[in-house]
Amino acid sequence: MFVRNLKEVGRYLVLILGPVVLQVAFVSHVTVLGVTADLFFITTILVALTRGRLAGAALGFVCGLAADIAYMQPLGVRSLIYVLVAYAAAVVMTRLGTVGPGAMLLVAGGLSFASQLLYGVVQYVTGPRGGFLELIAFQVLPGATLDALITLPAYWVLVRLRILPPIGPEVFATQGEET
């Protein structure tokens, strides 16, 4: 029991520290379609889809804090967004009843779009004003596409490494109980 709990703690540590290291050290230096992928978001989505909304929300909160620190943003902005995203991901998955590769792609892309839009609105309110359509065209859409495309291989890798469980009927059952 103790070893099992210890393994679980280790997995969560990997799920928190892994994105921090990878995002800060590598991913933030690589630009694709003019944007960089958001590993914090992808991890939050995957944890919400595989472990349920609470685990997803909690991890989203921590990942959001890490992201705010890493990107030197006011603390709490991304935490709030990732908590909401995790909850929404779990709800969508429960409604769908199944999450195949296509659905996962759509969920990740759609929620990335929503989260970046939300973040853009926060930036718009607090920071320098920019064009809304430019925000959509040059940041939100490419960002959502990139996040969605990375979510599938990230899921495959994390399941192979046994850090995340595969999405199965028991996960849906748990999600169903919560609603």
């Binding site: 921090v20 050290a25 230096h29 909304r53 929300a57 909690a58 909160f61 603390l75 935490s79 709030l80």
Partner: protein, 295 residues
Amino acid sequence: MPRTNTAWRRFAFVVLILASLALLTVSFREAESGPVYAIQKAGESLLAPLQSWGAKVAQPFVDGYEWFKALLSARDRAAELEAQVQELQGQAMKLEEAAEENQRLRGLLDLRSQDIYPDGTDFLIARVIGKSPTRWESWVLIDKGEKDGIRPGLPVVGATPLAGESLAGKGLVGKVLETTARTAKVQLITDPESSVAAKVQGSRAEGIVEGSVSGRLIMDYVDRDIPVDPKLVVITSGYGGVYPKGIPIGIVASVGEEDVNIYKEIEVEPFVDFRVLEEVMVLILPLSSGSQLGE
């Protein structure tokens, strides 16, 4: 406290939302000396070496990715650069042309600044737009005419790019022969019909500089008793009423003397290179100066 599992989860979710909002509020309201700000600063300092190290490690991969991207767009880029090169070559040619034109116009201004023209003389710069088609006559057509105040008989000077002598390139071109409203025909001093009263600077020699079909300038009617050395400058003498005194014509190239001829025959090398004449300056002399055709 929530009693069921579901209620507890909902409670936790609400707590996370509230915590985020609280953090957000504190972040925006707190001064830079506050604890949240200090925590963030500490976090940033922890991550800074990681970012720096990551940047170094990631750089080869980033370079590789950029190289691959560049490879994909290399063809388009090459075409774009080729177009740019052509455009720049065109611009360079234009600039070179402008520099040459500038040099020529500066030469004309040098001529203008010489204090040899009668009071009230106006100076009009004109562009050469045509040339005589045969060697039997030597004239150029300029783009200024009667409407610009040009009338037959006015002297014309010019400047062409030539290195060497201080006066090289700047000198007498000829005189206006005919005019229309917007153009004028300028007879060059190399025209076989042209004759210019001239004298050799540094000597008392005077004579008439005449053109020829071969394009050479010959100074005739020079007293053979007056010594003339090569390389001396030949200028207008002012006799005849067409050309003001002192306009440079050329330099003495060679001096010929024949026993049967009572005059020296001096070959003059003109300062102006008539083959590359592109702009000229018409000296619009005041009417009272008595300029008239035929010297």
